[in-house]
Symmetry: D2
Subunit: 292 residues, 4 copies
């Protein structure tokens, strides 16, 4: 039975670790807030008091952390993954971080004799719970093949998109599309409300036509109800859009809608709503329109 | 057998009329360019040389025309629908026009003893051919019930969204979301190309996650291939966004992304690409980025 | 001594009428709210109880009204200007209205034997009080020459920019630039505040370089102080941007920044701030940034 | 006579160094392309073959370089300013760089016993030639006082805006306003051209009203003539907007227009027009509108 050290048991990481247990992996999880490990323990996994403890002796180390500095700290830090994982172990980072940091970490891992895959995910809390995440993996073919069983246990669409960092590049594109789609739904929703329409009915017909999307299916009802429990937090999506904008700028790609929605997500974050689900964009549109 | 007079046999109207024949309706079609009726005739319908001829004696008149002035002309004109349709007939307008014009026409029809439903559609050419359109209908409950059999023959999702004009309001929301979604896909695509990724693979994983959409499924391959045969023409989507912007302004709703994508669609149109499929937004993004 | 009938004695029209008196014109003013005429009367003009009374027997009729329907009503209405002005009189409209309405009114006036000049102004309340407005006049050369003495009495820069309607087209360009400039100053101001800088000092150096503008000189201090007494009201600038957007769309001109700032002005208006000075854009930016 | 070592003799630095000579300073200049020093030598200055040579023994070192890495390299590099300047010398950086880099360099200078002022400039090539630049200086009061005579020799508005880095923060605000203003002028210009107006006349009246600006005065004629010899290059303004966007993001400030114009400047740069004057935004707008 493959042993997995799992670092980061939040909204996404928590249910992913549970799905690994259910798939037969021996999972030892660690989180800075120890109580976050309870769900994993109840499911049959173990809790570790430190990164070192979670990582020592495992075959696979999976990280699911908020941002580039977190992953860099956990992987490269004095008491971190590379200091304690055994040679030949596989490092799978499911966090959403900067592509260049993903490449830097893959190189550092290789120097220590570990393979690494950047494997950010899409699908939200629901996808994490159901094990139906879409996973965009970057790394060598060998590393991807090695990571495959673990990724299949948490995702439904698991695709090798290119070399180290490529997973993060595709994820940046994902976050750009997703933020924009949520904002478009938000604008359409406030527009329909302002015209006095039954938005439940209207969303049903929109979902059936060319305006249909996964975001509309999954977030539409909560947006209509103004229910913004995360889910995926504004603060993280704001961070992700910063990554996408930087990557677009470096590549000389013009993204007018991406840049516009990044300002709106930044507004939500600046207004203190970083802890809300990103579908709170509808609240911003409604307030801009003097309706809330 | 219900007799239908069908005005407007273009990219959308043509296959819709054929589907009505297949569903057992007796269809007489008219188009300003007569050759457009050939497909209908081959399918078992009849061609009429004028609106008057198409409309006289039918139970249902269905119009599928480019813009508000076209519909107003055909319905209210001297030799138009209201001048020739029998009292008690039902008028179904599947065009995308201004909500206020839809209401005006419904009133004019009512004065002549005809019921009217505004029933714009979404789903593109593919939806029209397959009979799987999403239809957002506005009008009285009685008028909608009367229109139902006709609409079911051309659509898969047929929903009564409110009183006269409401169908057009929902359609405006649909066009706002759709234009924005296409542009987001375009920006993501050029971004992925610039980073040297295999975009077929990348789109597959994006489609499986939260960035998935009907537009990505249906238009993604053509956008990757830069294949812009319509489909739905830029000029029409440009016109539709004008309707949406005006309706948003009148309702005091702020739509920053809608306004931004309207400028990009306007650019495509101004550059002489009004006849391309609206997915040509990707060409605009690529050119803005100096890549084509 | 030339007799002038002056319709519309608001923030702009009031001081303009006074300046006409000071320049030696015999001015009879009318406003829907009669008390607005007090200032004119104190300056030596006369108040009229109706448009008809203000207009009858005058050589020049000057209108300064909020929007296209107001001007059309006053000019074409049953008891309006064209019904009561004498043949050969000159009509000067200083309102900001749609270019096509300006052309329509000029034609209607010509049919009644009156010349007309569209002569919208820029310069704000301060320019109106000081008689230093910038005036962009459209009409025939003869009409402009006839209007010249009146316009010179209220403006410092009086320029004939083209045929009927041309004044309004240039004014639309003016309003586009001005709204955008105010918004840029607003963004820069909140940016400087957030970085803890002395904004009085910073604005002084900005004013001396390439970022300097009349808007920065005139509105900068009030924006720093968050003092939004009009001046020029948000509701009117919102209306004007609607004119500019429509005129750009009709001409196939892409105005991404114009469209973006129009959404922000629309937000201010929708939020109930239509009565504030348009420099209140800084309040919107500060609130979007969670700072107020 | 104060001795000045001047590093960077380009479009801006070249005439600035000449103005220092004229004001009585003893100037030794260095540029990577040696021929750029010819103008300085003709004016009475000296050319140095290396940074070390230019800097050794001088009282003031002035740098005018393209970007943060250039300044960091020249100041901190092995054969750089801090390695060769005498203790007690004053370092004045007139480049536009990241505020955090400016602070880092000021600290490094202090450790070596040198004071530093960040003193970015605004006013364009014309301002550099005429010695009428607007200069926004950051640093201690003592350092600013020491730098004052040098700055007065090249600028007309010389203002101490705050501690180290503050000059760069104000400059970022300047570049945000300036880029946006140029784009607004560009949109208005194409709008006026499309409506068939005489743009020379129209710009004259716009300049006299609330839409007037230094950018309109200085760049308007070249924009009308589509004459894009720099002046200030697109590539540099693109770089500067990246600095402004990052600084806004870090401070949680929402800048929708700044973000929008940054995309347009990025487009010009990506299209290979980085070497044109930034007023080439009008070419982009005209092409977007299908007019060129």
């Amino acid at each position: 039975m493959t042993r997995v050290g799992f670092i980061g048991l939040g909204i996404m990481g928590g249910p992913m670790a549970v799905n690994l247990v259910r798939a037969g992996f021996e999972v030892t999880g660690h989180n800075r807030t120890p109580s976050k490990a309870d769900r994993l323990v109840r499911a049959g996994g173990r809790a570790a008091g430190s990164v070192a403890e979670a990582v020592t002796g495992t075959d696979v180390v999976l990280t699911m952390l908020p941002d580039s500095p977190d992953v860099r700290g956990v992987v490269l830090g004095e008491d971190g993954v590379l200091a304690h994982a055994r040679e030949g172990a596989l490092l799978v980072d499911c966090s959403t971080i900067r592509p260049d940091v993903a490449r830097e970490l893959a190189e550092a891992a290789a120097e220590r004799g570990l393979a690494m895959v950047d494997a950010p995910v899409s699908g939200g809390e629901q996808g994490a719970v159901e094990g139906t995440l879409s996973i965009m993996a970057g790394g060598t073919a060998e590393a991807f093949d090695a990571a495959r069983p673990v990724l299949d246990a948490v995702g439904a669409t698991v695709i090798h998109v290119g070399p180290a960092g490529a997973g993060q590049t595709v994820k940046a594109a994902n976050q750009l599309i997703l933020a924009g789609t949520l904002e478009l739904i938000a604008e359409a929703l406030v527009f329909l409300e302002a015209h006095g329409l039954d938005t439940e009915t209207a969303f049903r017909v929109l979902a059936g036509g060319m305006a249909g999307s996964t975001a509309l299916d999954r977030k539409g009802p909560a947006m209509r109800a103004r229910e913004f429990t995360p889910g995926f937090r504004v603060a993280l999506h704001h961070k992700d859009l910063g990554i996408a904008l930087t990557a677009a700028r470096e590549a000389g790609v013009v993204i007018p809608l991406g840049a516009a929605v990044a300002q709106l997500m930044a507004a939500l974050d600046a207004q203190g709503h970083g802890g809300l689900d990103h579908s709170a964009l509808v609240q911003l549109v409604a307030r801009l329109s003097g309706r809330e």
